[in-house]
């Protein structure tokens, strides 16, 4: 306890002295900050200085071992560091899938050589990573993926296509699931491989969504090379690694949605007052008023459920498949909210572009459209319900997955 207090004092003093003044009061989150990578520029010189300073202490990856350049902090110390960063409302010095996805995976499944090669560039923000899982033919049924990796000397030749790869067009390396044994059944012939995207044969193409531009890309592999030493977890054993990472991803998505739904009541009420008037007193439309309350109550119940799951985890109850509950409910909650928002806005929520519309109103349209994907991406609601039925409720398998 007093150790932690000491650590806090030290962190606070250091931050007060070093953290660039210009960045204070500008908090980011895991999706808003500096992504790093070969092509990543900085928003300002202070952003660059902030990264260098933190990298020096290993605090871009505070809990990773110091031998790879990490901070070597305990979870408790990390919590102190994060709370001090929040206190000054500082942005994270570095974000990205290297830190939250492939890094932790390598720490768990990687060889010593893999960790030494790949972790330091992640920590220093030199290499930006993306994830190559889904393929056009394999959505919910991920294990049916078709992208091939054929042995060739001391490595593999990759051919195939990935889809829904976030920021592929801005990334340097990609971690991919590929089929290394076409004869093996589904899961058993899959390997988890790291691929340098800076080579011929790799093509990325951004995907336009119904809501407009998106970070998602298609990635095409045409005789692309990967090294044997870049297979993680062993050849044909990639499914185990992938599953662990997927669980991790779902929790992350849940947290993002938890944040996204906050404040529904105030937002919706604002839209309602704008559309319905009067500025005070009971809303003129009792049905819309009732839907706003439902949104508010749903949000409150959802946030309390997140808290309950966290509190249960603290008392040592083993975490279960709560991520599926949060995924299903959180995404649908957000959809209902976005739908209610456009409904409240009426014709103001129907604009696509142009100066006739306020930017806030245009965002309503786009956000509503984008929200329709929430129940599809990161594991469809249907898949989550299957998981709950089988693994939580213990209902018998009917062959449908």
């Amino acid at each position: 306890m007093s150790d932690l207090d000491g650590f806090r004092a030290e962190v606070r003093a250091w931050l007060e002295e070093h953290a660039p003044i210009s960045l204070r009061g500008r908090p980011g989150d895991i999706f808003h900050g500096h992504w790093g990578g070969r092509r990543g520029g900085f928003e300002s010189p202070d952003h660059e200085r902030w990264l260098r300073l933190m990298v020096e202490r290993g605090w871009t990856a505070p809990t990773w071992p110091t031998e790879y350049g990490g901070g070597g902090l305990s979870r408790a110390q990390d919590a102190v560091l994060q709370s001090e960063l929040r206190r000054l409302r500082l942005p994270p010095p570095l974000i990205g899938f290297g830190l939250v996805m492939i890094g932790p995976t390598l720490l768990e499944y990687g060889t010593e050589a893999q960790k030494r090669e790949h972790l330091p560039p992640i920590i220093r923000g030199e290499i930006r990573w993306c994830q190559g899982y889904s393929e056009p033919g394999s959505g919910s049924d991920l294990a049916s993926l078709q992208m091939r990796a054929e042995k060739n000397g001391d490595g593999y030749v990759l051919n195939g296509q990935k889809i829904w790869t976030s920021y592929a067009d801005e990334s340097d390396w990609i971690f991919c699931l590929v089929r290394t044994d076409p004869a093996a059944k589904k899961q058993s012939g899959i390997s988890f491989v790291l691929v340098d995207m800076d080579q011929p044969g790799v093509t990325t193409r951004p995907i336009k969504l119904i809501s407009g531009a998106s970070p998602f890309c298609e990635v095409f592999f045409d005789d692309v090379k990967a090294l044997a030493r870049d297979v993680v977890g062993g050849e044909n054993n990639g499914w185990t690694v992938a599953k662990a990472l997927l669980r991790h991803e779902r929790t992350m998505v849940g947290e993002v949605f938890a944040r996204s739904v906050m404040g529904a009541e105030a937002e919706l009420l604002g839209l309602a007052r704008e559309a319905l008037g009067p500025a005070e007193g009971t809303l003129a439309d009792p049905l819309l008023r009732d839907r706003i309350v439902q949104s508010a109550m749903d949000e409150r119940a959802f946030m309390l459920t997140i808290q309950r799951i966290q509190d249960a985890a603290k008392t040592g109850q083993p975490p279960g498949t709560e991520s599926s509950i949060l995924k299903v409910y959180g995404t649908e909650l957000n959809q209902r909210r976005r739908e209610l928002a456009v409904t409240l806005a009426g014709a103001d929520g129907l604009g696509w572009e142009g100066e006739s519309y306020a930017s806030g109103h245009l965002a309503l349209t786009r956000d509503w459209l984008r929200s329709r994907g929430n129940t599809i991406e990161g594991g469809t609601s249907e898949i989550q319900l299957n998981i709950i039925a089988k693994h939580v409720l213990g209902l018998p398998d009917g062959g449908a997955r």
Partner: protein, 376 residues
Amino acid sequence: MKLALNEDQRLIKDSAAAVWKDRGAVERLRKLRDAGDATGFSRALWDELAGLGWLGLPFPEELGGVGLGVTELCLVLEEAGKTLAPEPLLATTLLAGSALLLGDSDAARTTWLPRISAGEVIATVAWQERARRDEPLSCAAVARSAGDGRVSLHGAKREVLVGAQAELIVVVARDEASGQLGLYAVPGDAEGLTATPLVRVDAFPCARIDLDGVVVASDARIGGAELLATVLDRAGIGLAAEALGGMSAAFEMTLGWLRERRQFGVPIGSFQALQHRAARLYIDIELCRSVVMAAARTADQPGVPAAALAQVASLALARTTDTFLRVVDEAVQMHGGVGMTDEHDVGFYLKRARVVAATFGDAAWHRDRWARLAGY
């Protein structure tokens, strides 16, 4: 009232289906949208529709029409709705056309209806002023005496269908002296009238109209509040038919995907959870079909009371707007990731469904009106 198609109606429906399918379905709307086409629909196709007689379907033959009714026009609109055809049949023939047909002015009727039937004139009604539908009677635009029996119109209208392309705009304004609502037939190029195109999510042509002292002759007034109510209800029924077409097409598209798309070694349409959801959508669509058919036939009954027309129009719009929204949400969900891409057609239906729901009032608005009509 018989809820079945007669031979003529079946022919019209089949040929409407053929016309729009031949033109490339949603692909056509996509091209117009991507090109940022200023007209927003195909004027060539419009001429063809005129040739087929559809632009004057519910007008009497002596005014260049075919002498049929809303029932037949709804069949055409339903088929147009299936391909999300942006041609302004609803605005021209059912909104403006109904105003002229049922209005007080013989002069306006004989001037405009033959030209509408012939495809020479795109027309519309400008009535909405607020973002959310409320009573049309809350109109703030005014008609002011401008001497010599002329009036000048002042105000602004929004969400005017095909407003920037229309050669005739029937403007709703309140007579400054009497406080009475009036419908005024105004040429689209009248001085003082500015149309600003709105790029809406469904990519159908629409505009904001500003009236800065637009002067028209006093005989431009073709009717009042009662006419407006009837016009909106007739058009509402037409929109319900279009929505029926839209939901049917989105549903068919989804059924095709459920049969084709394989996951876990089987077509996803074999999963019972999806089957039951699809079956429920089917039931709701069938109910929509019944109310749309009944509403259109009611509109065609001679001397139908305004309240009876209002009730079926509200029934048709309440059901179709809600069901259309539900169908497209499910359609995108069942398509999975591919349904979220702009490349796929299903998103166009998602967007259109929401505009449809906001056009003449959504389901909640029409349920409220139903209760008001029934006195509770």
